[in-house]
Amino acid sequence: MSGIFLEEQESTNKLRKADFKAALVLLCIAILILLETLKFPMTGSYGGVESQWYVSPALFPLILVSVLLASSALLLITAIKARGYRDVFNYKGWIGDFGQSINRDRWFVIIQLLLYIYIFIPSCDFFLCTANFLLAITFRFYLSNSALMLPLYATQTIAVAGLFGLRASLLDEFYFFSMEIVSDEKLIAWSDSLLAGMIAINCLTLLLFSKAEKIKIVYLLATCLLVPLILVFVFTFLLQVPMPVEYGSVSLFLQWLWYDKLGM
């Protein structure tokens, strides 16, 4: 009985420590919001609407911010009471202990998602980006063969560096990050070829060096290459949702096949 109690106590202690940090962050954010909100017009006409204090766009945010400040303060006080302020300067408490595999795995997934959404999707064909993303995730979590990981990291670094290199050499104006998708068809073609090459290398290393069972490899390849192809097909042709990069190589090929060859 007392063992369970101690365990519970332990996890609550941990939570209070985290709460202390969360409350600090929340307080900072709330204060920033407050500063921004105070710049809003409080009275005076705007957009053709006569304004009084009660029409001000700042009214609702001000109410919210004050409640948010109050509740964060409450959380902070609760945390302080439970002595949650210990270890606040320990970086491990903030980004996780890299000695534990669970934290390394978390960061791996997060980084793959970031690469997928912010770097690959805006510049390459959707099928290729997806295949690349799926290969990375399945290599690590389905096969768990560390021999495959090194080539994977290498190809991904090359792909990312290459994409930026291509942008720098083919575009008049280099950009690191854009709110819009690339529409330069030459750049898309080159980026696609690069990514396709990297995917091919990864598939090769998989076929040559993985010691997994044959059936596992078949499943993996089907998941990484076939499923995204089906998804792209269903979304473009049946649901009529154009892919993010509409002039990507695989999309163009499928369109040519579907419309011009099969005449659908």
Partner: protein, 337 residues
């Protein structure tokens, strides 16, 4: 194993190679056309485009897909992305006159003349009061508004939209002052008039007709030079004869329709224009327009471009005067009306 690897690589290589050469010039249109409507699904622009595209696809002999891409200000996100696509006539954009404010609102950095619009038409504007309102005519309303400026509450969709501009023109032309209450769309604006939350509502005939026929609201008159005969209700008179000063800037047509990139080849534009004209002669289209209270105008080419130039200048400067624009119209060298 090696054989499989070889097969795999050749497949990938051919895939890339073929796709790069697959878009040689062919007769237009051979593949489906995509029409991206920049307003939400189920709205007026969306409905018109879906109906029109269904008819035009029969004439052109290819499928026309209609998708919605909303967001930004005045449909800027959808317009931006369609403009970036190939100017080959396979990418259309569904628009209305309200889209011309995208530039001054900071949505994009283009003038509207990057498009070549095809205008289907629009629904005339009507001013109504709730069913048990004391105001029987527009005169009553104006008199009451003059007696107590700013006491009469009017709903007209969102701030800076086309209905709001009508209200501003009405106030200017009659020398009165109203209290404008903004709502996120025409439907909630009208609902507010039905529940009596506001005294007056200004929206289009297409949106009000059912409420008028159902006796939930009562029309005071058309904010349009023509009288309107509403089946099942009777004739609604134009207010222009009694207030000639309304003629100065009104009517502002809704100009619902679609547009193609102005850089598209002349042959493509002509093909679209021919299909557009033919579609407008179809009885199904005419009946639909009548049932839904749209008036077909059918401009395209140079005529439509001029019309949109006029809207652009009128809308942009009106919003600028309200103080709700991000950029000055001068920055885009938009002439004053």
């Amino acid at each position: 194993m090696l054989k499989r690897i070889f097969l795999f690589t050749t497949l990938l290589a051919t895939l890339v190679a073929i796709s790069q050469t697959s878009h040689a010039a062919r007769k237009y249109p051979t593949r489906p056309i995509t029409n991206t409507v920049v307003w939400g699904a189920g709205g007026g622009t969306d409905a018109v485009n879906r109906m029109l595209m269904a008819e035009m696809s029969k004439i052109l002999g290819v499928r026309i897909n209609v998708t919605n891409k909303t967001g930004g200000v005045a449909g800027s996100i959808g317009m931006n992305q369609v403009l970036k696509k190939r100017a080959d006539g396979y990418n259309l954009v569904g628009i209305s006159s309200s889209n011309v404010t995208a530039a001054v609102n900071g949505g994009w950095r283009e003038r509207f003349n990057v498009w070549s619009p095809f205008i289907f038409g629009g629904s005339p504007e009507v001013i109504s009061v709730r069913a048990n309102s004391p105001y029987k005519t527009l005169d009553d309303l104006i008199k009451a508004a003059k007696a107590k400026p700013g006491s009469i509450k009017v709903s007209a969709s969102g701030a800076g939209g086309i209905h709001h501009l009508y209200l501003l023109e009405l106030a200017k032309a009659t020398g009165t002052k109203f209290q404008f209450i903004p709502y996120p769309g025409s439907a909630p604006s009208q609902n507010a008039a039905v529940t009596g939350e506001v005294d007056v509502v200004i929206t289009s005939m297409a949106e009000q007709a059912q409420l008028i026929k159902g006796k939930k609201i009562r029309p005071l008159g058309m904010l349009d030079p023509n009288d309107f005969n509403l089946k099942g209700y009777g004739e609604i008179k134009s207010t222009f004869p009694s207030y000639p000063s309304l003629n100065k800037n009104l009517p502002i047509p809704q100009a619902i329709g679609f547009a193609v990139n102005n850089k598209a080849p002349e042959a493509v534009k002509q093909k679209l224009a021919a299909a557009f004209e033919e579609a407008l002669t179809k009885p199904a289209v005419k009946k639909w327009a009548e049932d839904n209270f749209y008036v077909i105008t059918g401009e395209h080419g140079e005529e439509a471009r001029k019309e949109f130039d006029r809207f652009e200048s009128f809308f942009s400067w009106a919003l600028y005067d309200l103080g709700s624009t991000k950029e000055s119209p001068e920055k885009f060298s938009i002439a004053k009306p």
